[in-house]
């Protein structure tokens, strides 16, 4: 176990001791004690930057080597980018939460334990090289996210949101596990590096496409792509630090990570390219339009996160084209990958700061509703500055980092229209238009967030609290992020070589050997078509913002109602519940008879069916032993007693006929040359009849509950079916001997070995004495049971009756 493994496990270990710390240090906010963990990890992961620029670091810890499941950790460019985001934003979020969550009001031990479990899970997802270990951590993120969303579990909405996100992400996780297992079947390896190396070999495999679709399902559910995006807005019931950390910067990007990680494998197929590009752009458009109609700031940010994730997804999809060009000089599609990685980083910074900003507003004014907010600029100037940087970066305006990645996004879409592969040059124009429209809406909702909150009239009478500027502690984390947004916006090349380049190289492996490949992000590169589009976006977006109140009712009331996916989820869930309830109520009636009907029917179908289907029906009637008149008479007697019992109206008749049947059977045993059986049968039948009479004395006459025997009833059908089945089985079986009976041994050895002459008795007490022992036990248990049933009266009802 190397230091790297310990780094991943460290937050989990801390999560275990947090409750102890919490109990012993009541005076200090637990967050202060947790804070060093992500900071140490962040510094530790920073130390990997020089190594990652030249290659990757691999550490293996044997877990279940026999099945090829090992905790192998790989630090390459892509994992390092994620690890830095997770630990870096994790530190800021922990710091922010110290001021956000009250020490006395909240159960901080739970909060930090869940958060640390999440951090381990997330680090494990991005650093694992083993598919099963990756899946393990993946589900751990789902579980810890579930716990964090339901942190205020006394609220109904929190529980609902937690349940919904759990259902959807776990569904996707299980699909992904299926895809992973298919990959294992194809390559006989769980190691991602080995699987990627075998990509050419398996791309023609029949399981290739199913595995791709299943893994994509996992990635889409986790990254809130349409139509699986519905859990993310409901996850906003979590505390704001959680929303900032999980639902904007890290966990929702796990799906992005998986898509990026498997790009070298699946990008060989056009299905991958088109699925991701179409789902991504749909999500982009859908999220950005929906964000404009929300009134809750967190809901706007949730939909904006969905939309931005769609954007990154689209870029990764388009970037798949770059895998098909070996000649890098005319490979303009690598730009899409660069843009994806860059925007991934940028989005984490500005969305994190925006969530924290919303948290501050919620904390200081008591509401997040933009209809009640306004004119906060003068009261909260620092928060306003942070919000300004965040929203303008999100809208894609210079000089912030969002501008650069948005330019690259538009550029990639423009390049797509020139792509001479998979008809992209004809259909790519659609993606360009959708991307453009979505950017316009993105601009609009970014403006809504900033201007509706910070400008205009103050509505202090609508606010639950008197607003004032937030304390320094709350402001520090978002300020750091906002500074990063600005800094990267102006000096983008600071992170280009150390962080972005290795990440792009791990997505596009052909670049790894290319020494000439360098990312250069220019802030200004002349008047390009993309820049002109940005100008168009700003103009159209401004018009849309100014006319927002006119068209907002239209999209809130009319258009989306039919397309509301959240509603259909709720309906689907309730249909599932009602359906299974109704099914259970129909099938499990509670009547013993119904269940007997099921069993008997199944017996007939299975036995008769297999008898006929396997061609085992064997009605040859050879090798029969002779029938004498006595046999016929006995059979006739049994038949008469049977008919009598079935149609008898009196119980005494039934008992006597049953006795008659038993005695006839004992005569049968006599002519079948089984004297011991005849003897036992005779005695047992006598005792039974006595017992029946004894018990029936206490029971009523056959009451009128019995319906009249009808010929065409289920009962008749089943009994005839069973009778026919048994007869056919018996006839097919009686002469089918595959080997001789073993009884010759008993006949030979009964006297020699066991000193007896009655073979049956010797078998019962000597050769197979154990049967007899336990048959005696059965009798003992039955008699004890009968005694207990009669003597033991736990209910008081009888006693009362007796007293009266």
């Amino acid at each position: 176990m190397s230091l790297l493994h310990l780094a991943i496990i460290l937050p989990f270990v801390v999560a275990i001791i947090i409750p102890i710390i919490y109990k012993w240090t009541k005076k200090i906010h637990t967050g202060w004690l947790v804070l060093p963990v992500p900071i140490i990890l962040f510094i530790y992961f920073l130390s990997f930057i020089p190594k990652t620029m030249n290659g990757s670091t691999v550490e293996t810890f044997q877990w279940i080597p026999r099945y090829g499941i090992n905790f192998t950790v790989v630090v390459d460019g892509l994992s390092l980018l994620f690890a830095l985001l997770i630990t870096g934003i994790g530190s800021l979020v922990v710091f922010y939460s110290i001021y956000y969550l009250g020490k006395n009001k909240e159960r901080l031990n739970n909060f930090y334990a869940f958060l640390m479990i999440f951090m381990t899970a997330m680090l494990g997802v991005v650093l694992s090289d083993n598919l099963i270990v990756l899946y393990l951590f993946w589900e751990l993120t789902s579980i810890s996210s579930f716990l964090l969303i339901g942190y205020w579990y006394h609220r109904e909405r929190s529980r609902y949101g937690a349940r919904k996100s759990m259902m959807i992400t776990v569904f996707g996780g299980l699909m992904m596990l299926g895809g992973f297992i298919m990959l294992h079947i194809m390559t006989d390896s769980f190691s991602i590096r080995e699987i990627l190396a075998a990509s050419e070999a398996i791309s023609q495999n029949a399981l290739f496409i199913p595995a791709m679709i299943l893994i994509l399902l996992g990635a889409f559910t986790k990254s809130a792509q349409v139509p699986f995006h519905i859990w993310l807005p409901d996850a906003m019931e979590a505390p704001t630090p959680v929303s900032a950390y999980l639902h904007s910067a890290t966990m929702v990007k796990a799906g992005i990570y998986v898509v990026a990680r498997f790009t070298p494998l699946f990008a060989l197929s056009p299905i991958w390219f088109w699925t991701i590009a179409i789902v991504g752009t749909t999500t982009l458009l859908w999220g950005s339009i929906n964000a404009t109609k929300k009134n809750d700031l967190k809901a706007i940010l949730a939909y904006s996160t969905i939309s931005q994730l769609g954007l990154i997804m689209t870029l990764l999809g388009i970037g798949a084209a770059s895998l098909h060009f070996d000649n890098l000089s005319d490979d303009i599609y690598v730009l899409a990958i660069v843009a994806a990685v860059f925007h991934l980083f940028n989005h984490a910074t500005f969305k994190g700061s925006l969530f924290m900003m919303v948290g501050i507003i919620d904390h200081e004014t008591g509401t997040r509703d933009i209809r009640r907010l306004g004119g906060l600029m003068r009261i909260m100037p620092i928060t306003a500055t942070i919000a300004f940087i965040g929203t303008f970066a999100m809208a894609g305006l210079p000089p912030f980092n969002g501008f650069l990645s948005k330019e690259m996004f538009l550029e990639s879409l423009l390049n797509l229209t020139k792509l001479n592969l998979w008809n992209a040059d004809t259909w790519g124009i659609l993606l360009l238009i959708v991307g453009f429209i979505a950017s316009v809406f993105t601009f609009t909702y970014s403006m809504i967030i900033f201007f509706k909150t910070f400008t205009g009239k103050q509505k202090a009478y609508l606010l639950p609290k008197k607003p004032h500027e937030a304390p320094f502690g709350l402001l520090l984390s978002p300020a750091i992020l906002a500074f990063l947004v600005l800094f990267i916006g102006i000096f983008p090349n600071v992170i280009a070589a150390p962080i972005l380049e290795p990440a792009v190289k791990s997505i596009v492996p052909s670049l790894a050997t290319n020494a000439d490949f360098h990312i250069h992000i220019g802030l200004w590169h002349g008047i390009t078509p993309a820049l002109l589009m940005t100008v168009g976006i700003v103009i159209l977006g401004t018009i849309l913002y100014k006319t927002h109140r006119f068209w907002k009712p239209f999209i809130t009331t009319r258009v989306p109602k039919k397309l509301r996916i959240g509603k259909s989820y709720d309906k689907g869930m309730s249909y599932l519940e009602q359906g299974s309830y109704r099914f259970t109520m129909t099938v499990m009636t509670g009547w013993l008879r119904t269940y007997l009907n099921y069993m008997l029917f199944a017996f007939i179908v299975l036995v008769l069916g297999s008898l006929i289907l396997t061609d085992s029906l064997n009605l040859k009637f050879e090798n029969l032993t002779s029938v004498t008149l006595v046999d016929f008479v006995l059979a006739a007697v049994i038949l008469v007693t049977l008919i009598g019992i079935v149609f008898s109206k009196s119980r005494i008749t039934s008992i006597i006929l049953l006795g008659a049947m038993g005695y006839t059977i004992s005569i049968f045993f006599v002519i079948a040359r089984a004297p011991d059986l005849a003897l036992t049968q005779l005695i047992i039948e006598t005792i039974s009849v006595v017992l029946y009479l004894l018990v029936f004395y206490h029971l009523p006459q056959f009451s009128n509950i019995e319906e009249k025997p009808r010929f065409f009833s289920v009962k008749t059908f089943l009994s005839i079916g069973i009778g026919i089945t048994i007869t056919l089985v018996a006839l097919s079986a009686y002469d089918t001997t595959f080997y001789d009976s073993i009884s010759q041994y008993y006949i030979d050895n009964t006297y020699k070995e066991a000193a007896g002459k009655n073979i049956v008795n010797v078998i019962l007490v000597d050769f197979r004495g154990f049967d007899t022992l336990f048959e005696t036990t059965v009798l003992a248990i039955a008699s004890i049971g009968i005694f207990t049933m009669i003597k033991l009266r736990l209910t008081k009802r009888r006693d009362k009756n007796e007293n009266q």
């Binding site: 008879r593 040359r673 089943l718 009778g723 009976s741 059965v778 209910t795």
Partner: protein, 115 residues
């Protein structure tokens, strides 16, 4: 003989199933008794009926005996089914005492209407 027995056993099974599917507890118990008779005869028939002499050594000088194993098995089965039948009978008696009814429609697994 086997043909006759098979048909007879089939009829016994049919009658037993018909009785087990009735509502009255008494008929159900009678049904199980007939079912065990049917099974015993089935085991006997399948083991080969009347194919040799009584399986007691030295009774007659004979080359072949009837198969003793099914007989031992049936002997065990008779005793066990007797034990179970006796238990069932007393159970029916107690059920009647507690529920004042011998109809299985009174003994429902769950009260669906309460929910």
């Amino acid at each position: 003989m086997e043909l006759l027995m098979s048909i007879l056993i089939g009829l016994m099974f049919a009658a037993a199933v018909y009785l087990i599917l009735s509502k009255s507890l008494l008929r159900i118990i009678i049904g199980t008794a007939i079912l065990s008779h049917g099974v015993n005869l089935l085991v006997l028939t399948m083991g080969g009926i009347k194919r040799g002499n009584v399986p007691i050594l030295g009774l007659k000088v004979t080359a072949s005996y009837n198969d003793p194993i099914p007989q031992a098995l049936i002997l065990t089965a008779i005793v066990i089914s007797f034990g179970v039948t006796a238990f069932f009978l007393v159970l029916a008696y107690r059920a009647y005492q507690e529920l004042d009814s011998e109809s299985v429609s009174k003994t429902r697994g769950h009260e669906a209407d309460d929910e």
